[in-house]
Symmetry: C3
Subunit: 208 residues, 3 copies
């Protein structure tokens, strides 16, 4: 359980940085940085907890993720002018945060003895909904639904890797590590080398 808490915290930290960088793009003030950072940091885990009926949600039971996210937002506020291309940094940090959050979601669902398919769904929900809220609220094109990139696919594959590794070597840090590795590898391959699933086509005529 301590491992899961650490994962939730790590995901909150990295997601918060992406949220703060999106706030920088939107030219918000320090409190706006904190607001978007916290929304991104705890959004996915909050939806997961609401769906599973875990109440109050994790960050009300223990404020550490909010404190971490707020601190990260302030740190970014004072340093974001040092970052040359914020969008590139956002995309890569988002990939890291996605990997960690998927592992946390799968782990929480496994800890509640939920069936495998629910573990996979909770991995996707925990990983994707924080960034989705960030992008919808700030009027950016959601990373999660960008054409021609792996995102939900990476989360799903990472969840599957966690389940598989658990079968092979037992539950624990190794299974969650496999999850993070597979999620990040697929997402990074997509961002860097253009890996994608078949089916996406170059600009077909968009029907009215």
């Amino acid at each position: 359980m301590t491992l899961l808490l650490a994962l939730d915290l790590a995901a909150a930290l990295v997601f918060a940085v992406t949220g703060a960088l999106v706030a920088a793009r939107a030219q918000l003030d320090p409190i706006g940085f904190i607001f978007v950072a916290c929304l991104t940091a705890v959004g996915g885990g909050t939806v997961r907890d609401l769906l599973l009926g875990r109440e109050p949600v994790f960050w009300i039971a223990d404020p550490a993720p909010v404190a971490v996210a707020g601190t990260a937002a302030i740190a970014v506020f004072f340093t974001h002018h040092l970052v040359a291309s914020r969008l590139a940094v956002i995309v890569w940090l988002d990939a890291v945060a996605l990997s960690v959050a998927v592992a946390a979601g799968v782990g929480v669902a496994y800890g509640l003895d939920l069936p495998v398919w629910t573990q996979l769904v909770m991995g996707i929900v925990t990983g994707c909904f924080g960034g989705l809220m960030r992008d919808v609220v700030c009027n950016e094109v959601p990373l999660v639904l960008k054409a021609g990139e792996l995102y939900v696919t990476a989360a799903l594959a990472g969840g599957a890797a966690a389940v598989l590794a658990r079968e092979l070597v037992g539950p624990g840090a190794l299974a969650l590590g496999a999850c993070m590795l597979v999620t990040f590898a697929l997402r990074a391959g997509s961002v860097r080398f253009g890996w994608r699933l078949p089916g996406w086509r170059e600009r077909p005529p968009k029907p009215r």
Copy 2:
């Protein structure tokens, strides 16, 4: 209760197809199709369940709607190039799904002995929020809030028809059938013949 389950499944199926077609417009990959399809399929019922405190939400208790939605998404992925005008198909299928989902929402609230006004609200929530999430996430203009078209109105009238029919002929399939019929008739009349409530005006100057 079996009837309600069947309605939830039917709504999930048709909403999933609309979600998958929106995913096609956004040029997503197969997993993206499944993601948007599932969000659309279970979104409205999930909000309903959260508001009513039914936890875990219906599709975690029984994965059938998610399985149906995922299968539908894959089927659409392999066939959507056969569809001439995706938007027209989306609008009409959305009308069917709305009708079924409103009936499911009203029925669930009635089964929980909630007052009539809550039944009407839950009909609207179940019917409208899945499509609303689909459109917000995919950056489409929400069908539910399109100027000059009946949508929430159709859902409300359908709910009222269910309540009325229940008074006249007793609860059961007939009342829910009346709900679906009225909802679909109003929505279809709006799409096909331009039925609308008074109050909408042609392009007034939009104040700053």
Copy 3:
């Protein structure tokens, strides 16, 4: 508790008017006015209740806020052509509603014996999420995240004022009044005189 109920009602009323005016900008029909008005009126309080595990949410337990919001929407529908600049009215009424809702959120959290930081967060959530939903759903730029304006900051300062006033003069109407006063003063100063936190810069080059 009666005081809190009155605050929830007052916030619902004023938020509903802002929602109806946004519906007017979107040229919706009367039922659309009611839909957006109710979403705005109860959105923030609903998220607060879901996060805190208060179920069913407040407006299902007692329909008064929904009734008030619906009535306000209809009243606006018949009179909104009298309003010269809807956007200015929306911004100012939104400031009033924000102030009242922040006080309601802080008060509810205090009534549940939650720690101070949770009270502040619940004030922000109750105050900001209704308007955020209104703007996201209706495709307006969210007021809450407008660059160079105090919004979340005003909500946070108002919550802090409530906590401080409670320490000084005890809980009750006075503390909540201080909350409303501080929130409104900061928000109004930002709208009218351009008050802002440091950190916002005039149009920096937006990195890709």
